[in-house]
Chain length 97, copies 2
DNA sequence: TCATTGTGCAACCTCCTGGTTGCATGTAGT
DNA sequence: ACTACATGCAACCAGGAGGTTGCACAATGA
């Protein structure tokens, strides 16, 4: 999932989808200097990472942000950094004693 | 930075450094099924992303976690998800009205 | 001084990723 | 039925990421 976000194009897509509404592929591809196919691949990656949902409507497939999907990553980072802080504080106590 | 974390090996390294103490390169490479050179490259990436600090001590270079470096990413994710939630809530209100 | 240890550097290799093009398919509209 | 639009699929390509090997070099310890 960090890998999914570690790409400016996909961050841009996520940002565009961040308005909460549905977007088709050509809609998302419009304005970006990329082929529709490239966008399709990126969307596939994002979907695989659980960041977006897709729904087929007629001849177009609409993508939406999956709300709350990012909080997992955020909580993970929170936990990690708390562990760091705790470990470092512990070390500091040992050194000072 | 997401790209730096989007790699299991580097996550492992970050996790090992998470104890807050200093580690040399061979120390970190020990136990991993990789060459010392590979670890060196990964550490370079992590350092470039601002996640770790390095210090030369005698003939070995010691790496440490940069505390607080991850909070930037976490705050970013928090801001993003808040924007999403706000946008979606706004949409819902419009739809229901 | 000499062997050992910890790194750094450079060249090289392989494979995956990001990207394109071309074509086929399904859906909408007239 | 025919055209236009939105997408899917497959093949293909270039470049970079991840990894290895070999060698050179500085610091350590006997």
């Amino acid at each position: 999932m960090f890998a999914a976000l570690g790409c400016v194009t996909r961050l841009e897509l996520v940002s565009r989808l961040g308005d909460g509404s549905e977007h088709s592929i050509t809609d998302l591809a419009d304005g970006l200097p990329l082929t529709r196919q490239a966008i399709t691949k990126h969307l596939r990656v994002l979907h695989h990472a659980g960041l977006v949902d897709s729904r087929r409507v007629g001849r177009e497939s609409r993508f939406t942000i999956r709300p709350g999907s990012i909080t997992h990553a955020r909580d993970y980072l929170t936990r990690i950094s708390e562990q760091w802080d705790a470990a470092i504080a512990r070390l500091r106590t040992v050194v000072e004693s």
